[in-house]
């Protein structure tokens, strides 16, 4: 009788998850089917504390849960494993309530112990997880404590705007706990690529099924997942999720054209044309959305304000000089030539797709060589020498070197277009592509006296949805305050007024909780940057997604964006046939 009772209880708990997350898809879906994508390189590990690259985290995200994330519809915080939260103490404390009844794929409950354990390990300096920065605020730790089995509490040293975005991966304590207590090395050795996939426990929509090195990762539906659709059917709909590893972009295109991959992102106009031609020839049932959005990545030129040559340092610190350089950016040609006609000009630091904070209402120093000539004349460069280069009254030629990383075709072409325009009006720009690592060294490693050797660098950073996460670029003592870098984690020796303003705005933006006020702060931040140009932005490449029509649950054209992608949730994507 007792046995029966236990069995009954088990069956009940298996059937009815107490508090599932309801995933709102774009259309009613149906169970079954496979989803096949291509990836440029192999994952490195299944261990979220070791993973440092998207090739690993893109897959880990399919089988490990996070507390919260962004809503794909509004980009506001949305609960994942946390079903709700409560902000207390003027934002200093957040209480997260977990979904009761959520279970790992091995049947164990996902509860506060797993969350607190994961937070502890991510925050551990010896582990050096890639998410460690989510647990430190201005050098002070964010404290995580367990309230009861399904409630956790986070205490912040000061109010923190992105406090509700907790996107670090939660691992099963019953598997990682013993290893962690045995030592960091043991923890890092867990869940490497040679671990049998069946041992990798899942708390996400899919679980690992098999991995063939250099070929493919196969995941299958996790029946224990804590999500349902709007009609209370369990998700994910898809039975199988396959990542094919294809290290060459053209080969990826070939896979898509052959109908062997379900989605593809065209990198340039040529690839868009190939997909279109095949669709029109009725040989591929697919859709492509050229220029649907722009990518989050940026490309910009930064000048060195810590130059060992005082003439150049002084020149680069002149806002008129930087505006003149901005006037020399022929962004139209850059889009035509470097991006194959697909892209948009960028004027300020927040990426265009980031609708919550982006503003187009900033000063734009549009392409105009005449205005550049005029501004340079105001700086004293009025006449040209015998070789046709602009000189000042002391006969000093207006010249600098521009470098970018070798092998990045887009950046190399942007640099060449800029160089050609500058040379036309007599600015002697010497352009040279160099090795990426050498470029990073020149940018981030000042000499003992605080000077750096480069003149100008064309580089890019990957943008994100949360402006506060780029504090290392904009705060005065940031490690990527790349135009004016302080030595050893201190503020730079000589600081301009607008830099202090940017620093203040960034700090205020990170600690303001009201969304409307935050937007205002970041709008002002974009205006200050666009006006003073510590970094001169160029163009942003387009996002040109394509997909086979056999997929359902995808975004219609208007809703596609480069942050979320082609579908709101992977859970509600399904195969129509």
């Amino acid at each position: 009788m007792k046995k029966l009772l236990i069995l009954g209880m088990l069956a009940l708990s298996g059937l009815a998850l107490a508090q599932p997350k309801v995933f709102k898809g774009t259309e009613p879906g149906r169970q079954g089917g496979a989803y096949r994508i291509t990836a440029i390189s192999d994952p490195r590990t299944w261990n979220p504390f070791v993973a440092r690259e998207t090739s690993s985290t893109d897959i880990i995200a399919l089988f490990l849960p996070t507390l919260t994330g962004y809503s794909p519809y509004t980009q506001a915080p949305e609960g994942n494993l946390a079903k709700s939260w409560e902000v207390r103490n003027n934002g200093l404390t957040v209480i997260f309530r977990l979904r009761e009844g959520a279970r790992w794929s091995d049947g164990q409950a996902i509860d506060a112990d797993d969350v607190i354990f994961s937070a502890t390990v991510h925050a551990d300096q010896r582990v050096n997880s890639n998410s460690r920065s989510s647990f430190i605020l201005d050098g002070q730790p964010i404290r995580w404590t367990k309230v009861d089995q399904y409630t956790v509490r986070a205490d912040f040293p000061k109010p923190y705007a992105p406090a509700l975005i907790q996107g670090w991966y939660i691992v099963p304590e019953h598997i990682f706990g013993p290893a962690y207590r045995a030592g960091v090395q043991q923890l890092q050795a867990l869940w490497n690529l040679d671990t049998p996939p069946a041992q990798v426990v899942s708390g996400g929509p899919f679980k690992l099924d098999s991995y063939v090195k250099g070929e493919r990762v196969v995941l299958v539906r996790n029946p224990n997942y804590w999500g349902v659709d709007e009609r209370n059917n369990p998700v994910a709909y898809l039975e199988r999720y396959t990542v094919q590893i294809v290290p060459d972009l053209n080969a990826q295109l070939a896979r898509f054209l052959a109908g062997e991959a379900d989605t593809f992102s065209a990198a340039n106009a040529d690839q868009v044309a190939q997909v279109l031609e095949r669709i029109r020839g009725n040989r591929l049932r697919a859709e492509i959305f050229p220029n649907a959005d722009v990518t989050l990545g940026t490309n910009f030129i930064v000048f060195n304000w810590n130059h060992k040559d005082p003439f150049k340092e002084n020149l680069f610190r002149q806002v008129k000089f930087r505006r003149a350089m901005a006037h020399l950016m022929d962004k139209k040609s850059m889009i035509e030539v470097a991006l194959g006609g697909l892209g948009q000009p960028q004027w300020s630091p927040i990426s265009i797709p980031n609708k919550a904070f982006f503003t187009d209402d900033v000063v734009k120093y549009e392409f105009s060589p005449q205005k550049a000539v005029q501004l340079l004349a105001e700086l004293g460069f009025r006449s040209k020498n015998r070789d046709g280069w602009l000189v000042n009254s002391q006969g000093r030629v207006l010249e600098f070197n521009l470098v970018t990383n070798q092998g990045n075709n887009v950046r190399e072409r942007i640099a060449q277009i800029f160089r050609d325009e500058a040379r036309k009006i007599g600015v002697k720009v010497e352009y040279r592509p160099i090795d990426f690592n050498e470029l990073v060294r020149q940018l981030t490693s000042p000499a003992a006296d605080g000077t750096r050797e480069f003149d100008a660098i064309l580089i890019g950073l990957t943008g994100g949805i949360e402006p506060a996460f780029s504090r290392n670029v904009w705060e005065l003592n940031g490690s990527l305050h790349m135009w004016n870098l302080g030595a050893g984690g201190k503020n730079p020796a000589k600081v301009e007024a607008f830099e202090v303003l940017i620093d203040t705005l960034m700090k205020r933006g990170a600690t303001t909780l009201d969304q409307a006020q935050r937007r205002q702060i970041y709008v002002q931040f974009q205006k200050v940057v666009a006006e003073n140009l510590p970094i001169i932005y160029t163009v942003a490449p387009a996002y040109n997604p394509a997909r086979l029509t056999r997929l359902g649950g995808m975004f219609p054209k208007e809703q596609i964006n480069s942050i979320t992608g082609q579908a709101p949730y992977i859970e509600t994507v399904f195969a129509k046939e």
């Binding site: 063939v212 250099g214 080969a251 040989r283 090795d435 981030t444």
Partner: protein, 398 residues
Amino acid sequence: MFAYVVRRLLQLIPTFFGATLLAFLVIQLAPGDFVTRLELDPTQDRESIANLRQQLGLDQPLPVQYAKWLSGILQGYLGLSLSYKTDVWNVIGQRILNSMVLVVLATLMIYLIAIPIGVYSAIRKYTWPDRTFTVLAFLGLAIPNFFFGLIMLFLAVWLNDLTDMRILPIGGMTTEFIHLGNLTRAAQLLFPFALLGTLVFAGLFWQRSRRGQAATFGIWVGLVLFGMSTLLMLAPLLQGPGLPERLPYTESPLWARATNVLWHAFPVVIVVGTSGLAGLMRVMRGQMLDVLSQDYIRTARAKGLSERVVIYKHALRNAVIPFIAGIGGLLPGLIGGAGLVEVTMAWPGITPALLEAISAIDIYVIMGLITITTVLLMIGNVVSDLLLAWVDPRIRYS
């Protein structure tokens, strides 16, 4: 002879240390290290970057790093991959095996085709067939492999479109699902032809050997190809009907997996083979022409030997000596991979892994590969020298 071999093997030791030290220095002299890439990530603080460097031992002086690595090597441990956090052998082992499939097949193809064509071209020099082969050889040498690989992919897409069947694979080494049903039906259809072919060539073989003649090259090739196909088809014939219509690759029987890999290898081997083929064909032709103009060939002809005997017994045997001596040199090539074509055709060989390791500066993966290649190169050289002494009576080591 024995003393010579021992001496050669002893010489390997200093060469090994010199080569690995040099490689280690060259990798370290390049700017940046494994962590450099992370420095441009806005979410990474200075502190965690420094921590990571320390944890991976990248902040230690070079001699210390080299000594640590060396002490591992002497115990047969290649080191820990920085990005995979696992033994280097786990990272490269499987990939070397994958590359070997290509390299072995391509080498076989090259030798089996290049030598006969080279001989033919030499005997009928400046005739139309010779000129055609010459033009094809130069084309093969001129087209870069990676580009030819891309053309092959699009050719495959086009061919599959045209026939509305999957004639050729679109890159990769295996498919996710194997259609066992199709394989079985194909085997049932083709088996009679394969068996017939085998019987015909076996008959020819038997006939010639009864007349006391050696079998021709063509008969050998026919017998081996048809015989192998017949044997391969036995497995699906016997086992196939009892299996489901399709199965995931990992759960399929060995014969199906082997067929699947061979099918994927076919276009890649053609791409890899053509350039090697072109070179070897020209060398073979030159060698053969060289030998054919020797005095002893004239003597052989003068004493009335048949042209067949002159060419195959006197000329060819001398002309292939450099190739036999070169076999040792193939050894490091076996694990070196097939080059960039592995990237363009998504073959999970060693080249993509090596390129990734180099761009991430995963030192120990690079060093591991260099070490294995160096050792094989050194052993290959010794083997070459010994083979040379064996086939060429004019060379003696003492």
